[in-house]
């Protein structure tokens, strides 16, 4: 009996070890990169997460691409493009040598198919709004929605579907021959080339996807995600997907059909998926991975301290296009009074927060938009009289880059830290000594935040500042992320923490969401002046003048009507050793896998 047991157990143990050893036969990889969490969505038309987009840039290539070092927008599948004088029509010439991983040529039709798919409401793409910039796009999207609604209702009632799908040719994405694509926009968009380089505009291979389309009557059609499995997925980028182990790793192998494979130094790259930043950090430090794109907060602080003492040369800290801010619920008394909002914003000592709490090299920031955003300038551009420049290359809200190729946006100044002025504002609003006591619906000010090791100490410090300078009673309310989001969308809060990263170099990326009725305007900020200025800027072609208008709008948001209280600009932290090449810390936090390599 004992012997049977002994033998069984030993057999189990040995069997498992052998099984593991056999499945271990892993391909040798050149670079291992900790990519953060597991992929949320690998369908390029639908994705919106940073680490998904990073993976996508390894697998697919768009018409244009971003240079990770200079952030310049450069030719990719399109060898060149031209813009019409009114800035509304873009014509792309595709290089004929571009190939899909199965050998098919990459054609203009592939791009049109991919973009029309993003515009199909059934795709439920997070960034379909980018496609609404194309003439006819919005009408097409709305007509398609109406069609789905009608078809769904007809199916439910048992009637035949009589309504028809909208005409795809009504959207101004025109295929002129296999290698020419023309796009007409509703208005000139200075940052359109940057959008074209973004993941939403990547092409997909129609022929290999078709068999995965699930189209059942009465249901929205969708593609079975198996089209993205290794073996099924056909891509046109520097790499192909050869392995995808859920919650473990993705392995990319060089695409031998890729037109520019001579500039892909790595044969194989592994991207690790690990939701826990602490264990990723351990695996980096023990040499199991080469690049870490996301550091635990505590380690980030300690490493920065060591870095400043000359140790840890593998740490890279750099400002990114992301803002940490607090939002007021502008419809909730007493925060419907702009003086109250201003008073609270003016009692946040941002310097103290970045100096003694976050301590990862953040920069205190009173504007909503981070510095460093830029759009490309048309060749031969000169500051005109309309923009009223201080000098030929500098004006209120803009600055020309040294190479005269791009225009930088200069953010508006927000409210300064000024407790005395804040007390006066609060008194003017009728609160404080001699006035009514300051109270919200619940009594104390409810400060809503999602639970994280960094949000809590910041909130505690701000609560203390409000208490000390204004005599307010503040209560922190920590919630799990899911509940936190629900509360924001339902507008049931007083003040809430928030952050925003932008995907492209135009300041509107930070400001659009504060328009009246926007789905992300959780604080219900409403300002006619703000909305008007943004509309006006949309209709302005002259880039410097446009930035001036945007800056005025930003000023309304952060100072005059104070819908938000910005606190600091985020920093990015990368860890990688000296032998890794092809990574440039940039404010978009983007790593282009194409050029990443390990030197020997």
């Amino acid at each position: 009996m004992y012997r049977i047991l002994l033998v069984t157990c030993l057999l189990v143990v040995a069997g498992l070890l052998v099984a593991l050893k056999m499945s271990w036969g892993r391909d040798r990889v050149d670079v291992v990169l900790a990519n953060g969490e597991e992929i949320h969505e690998l369908d390029p038309g639908r994705m919106s997460w940073m680490h998904d987009i990073r993976t996508a840039y390894g697998l697919w290539e768009g018409l244009l691409t971003m240079n990770p070092k200079t952030l310049a927008i450069e030719p990719a599948v399109a060898s060149e493009y031209s813009v019409s004088p009114d800035g509304r029509t873009y014509t792309f010439t595709l290089r004929p040598e571009a190939r899909w991983s199965n050998g098919d040529p990459v054609t203009a039709e592939d791009f049109r198919f991919a973009w029309m798919r993003v515009l199909d409401p059934a795709t439920a793409a997070d960034y379909y709004t980018y496609l609404l910039l194309i003439r006819g796009g919005e009408q097409y999207y709305n007509a398609f929605r109406a069609y789905y609604d009608a078809a769904g209702a007809a199916h439910k009632a048992g009637w035949p579907v009589t309504s028809t799908r909208p005409d795809p040719d009504s959207v101004a994405i025109r295929v002129i021959g296999p290698h020419r694509l023309e796009v007409e926009l509703v208005r000139p968009v200075a940052y359109f080339p940057e959008l074209i380089a973004f993941a939403t505009f990547l092409p997909v291979h129609r022929a290999s996807m078709e068999k995965f389309l699930v189209d059942r009557p009465g249901q929205l059609p969708y593609y079975d995600p198996n089209w993205l499995k290794p073996g099924n997925l056909v891509s046109n980028g520097p790499f192909v997907l050869t392995r995808w182990d859920m919650y473990d790793r993705i392995v990319l192998t060089r695409n031998e059909q890729y037109w520019d494979r001579a500039h892909v130094p790595s044969r194989r790259i592994a991207l690790l998926a690990n939701p826990d930043v602490n264990t990723s950090f351990l695996s980096y430090d023990s040499g199991q991975c080469d690049v870490l794109s996301n550091l635990p907060e505590a380690a980030g602080q300690a490493l920065l301290a060591q870095h400043q003492q000359g140790r840890r040369p593998d740490l890279y800290v750099f400002p990114v296009w992301g803002t940490y801010y607090y939002r007021f619920n502008c419809k909730q008394p007493p925060f419907d009074d702009v003086r109250v909002r201003k008073a609270l914003a003016m009692c946040i000592d941002r310097e103290a927060i970045v100096r003694s709490i976050t301590r990862r090299g953040e920069r205190a920031q009173s504007s909503m938009v981070t510095p460093g955003l830029m759009v490309p300038l048309p060749p031969g551009w000169r500051a005109g009289p309309s923009s009223g420049p201080d000098s030929p290359d500098h004006g209120p809200g803009w600055r020309v880059s040294d190479d005269h190729k791009s225009l930088y946006y200069e953010p508006a100044d927000g409210l300064p830290f000024d407790p005395a002025a804040a007390r006066k504002l609060l008194a003017d609003a009728g609160y404080g000594p001699g006035g009514k006591p300051f109270a919200t619906k619940a009594g104390p000010v409810q400060l809503l935040l999602n639970d994280s090791p960094i949000h809590k100490p910041i909130a505690e410090a701000i609560a203390k500042m409000w208490q000390e300078h204004l005599g307010l009673k503040v209560e922190l309310e920590l919630q799990a992320t899911g509940i936190f989001r629900t509360r924001l969308k339902e507008h049931t809060f007083d003040v809430a923490r928030a952050n925003w990263y932008t995907d492209y170099g135009d300041p509107t990326g930070f400001l659009e969401m504060f328009k009246r009725g926007d789905g992300n305007n959780d604080g219900q900020f409403e300002s006619k002046r703000f909305d008007d200025l943004l509309v006006q800027s949309d209709n302005t072609v002259e880039p410097a003048h446009r930035f001036e208008l945007i800056r005025q709008a930003e000023r309304v948001l952060v100072a005059e009507e104070c819908g938000v209280a910005p606190i600091y600009q985020y920093v990015g932290q990368f860890l990688y050793r000296r032998d890794i090449g092809g990574i440039w810390p940039n404010p978009k936090l983007q790593i282009m896998l194409k050029g990443v390599a390990k030197h020997r």
Partner: protein
């Protein structure tokens, strides 16, 4: 015997259906919504929900509508599962189906669990027998001290200690991850320790009982070697309590692997389960709960059957 097995197998879908329904009701009470992401335009929310077979109910809808929508979603989900064996799409990981996710994470947890269980039985029984034979001596005390420590120390302490000593100080094992044989040792040892300890105590107690029994005296009187007496005659009945412990132990090892998976960064189903709850991934929650339940019910059935084999005195009901 066969009748008993058939009866148990008929019960299986009914139990699973009850668990499924209860889980669904609990999910309905879970605050939050998987489709509330800053990046998701609000126009897209209903579409997104429809994609995952959920009906997006406005928050101010009357209770009647809310429950009607929930019932419809429930029927949709259950119908898809029963008719197609399909758990649907994962809302958190849109590039994968729930079946895919479970298919790739479950084998890792099963492997780890089986390894740990085998280790626990092997080491636990051996230590138990050793302690019983040398009862009330230094060996016995050492084993029992070890067992006490194994039971009282939680896995996250043991795991962290093993990790810091064997992986960091000595550098013998990798700090975590999954794939190579060397990566399974530390997590399996961690996971097995409390069970080893428990099994050692059970075996020791059982052996001490049996060693004083009449038939053991007879066996000795026949002139059998002590080794044969202990391992062949005494061990079999002493193993019974261990066997009945194996059912719940299998359950605990499978569901308890979450902590170990987190410490050692193992992409198993325990971690998937927790992530699915945190991210309100309804399809994935239901999928993992169903898989867990099925595994536990089957594990218990196997233990019940093994009883009859080890101790013929136990007759399963319905067995002629």
């Amino acid at each position: 015997m066969i009748g008993y097995v058939i009866r148990r197998l008929i019960q299986l879908p009914i139990i699973l259906w009850v668990i499924y329904t209860l889980t669904y009701l609990l999910i309905c009470q879970h605050p939050g919504n998987p489709f509330l992401d800053d990046k998701t335009p609000k126009e897209q929310r209903a579409l997104l929900a429809a994609r995952y077979g959920v009906i997006d109910t406005p928050k101010d809808a009357p209770a009647r509508v809310v429950w009607r929508n929930r019932a419809t979603t429930y029927v949709n989900y259950l119908g898809r599962l029963v008719l197609h064996g399909d758990f649907g799409l994962s809302s958190q990981h849109a590039g994968k189906t729930v079946g895919d996710i479970i298919g790739s994470t479950l084998p890792r947890s099963l492997m780890l669990g089986a390894f740990a269980l085998a280790l626990a039985v092997l080491v636990g029984c051996s230590l138990g027998v050793l302690a019983a034979v040398r009862s009330h001596g230094p060996v016995d005390y050492a084993v029992m001290l070890y067992a006490m420590a194994g039971i009282s120390l939680p896995t996250f302490v043991i795991g962290a200690m093993l990790l810091s000593f064997f992986a960091f100080t000595l550098g013998l094992f990798p700090v975590g991850g999954w794939g190579s044989p060397s990566q399974i040792i530390l997590p399996a040892v961690t996971l097995s320790l409390p069970f080893t300890a428990y099994i050692a105590r059970l075996t020791r107690a059982g052996m001490l009982d049996v060693l004083n029994a009449d038939y053991i005296r007879t066996a000795r009187a026949k002139g059998l070697s002590e080794r044969r007496v202990v391992l062949r005659h005494a061990f079999k009945p002493a193993f019974l309590p261990v066997l009945s412990f194996l059912g719940p132990a299998t359950a605990a090892i499978l569901t308890g692997s979450f902590v170990v998976e987190k410490i050692f960064n193992i992409p198993g189903i325990g971690r998937t389960f927790v992530i699915s709850v945190q991210s309100n991934d309804y399809g994935l929650i239901l999928g993992t709960v169903m898989i867990y339940s099925t595994l536990l019910i089957v594990a218990n059935l196997i233990v019940d059957l093994a009883y009859g084999w080890v101790d013929p005195r136990i007759r399963l009901e319905g067995d002629a």
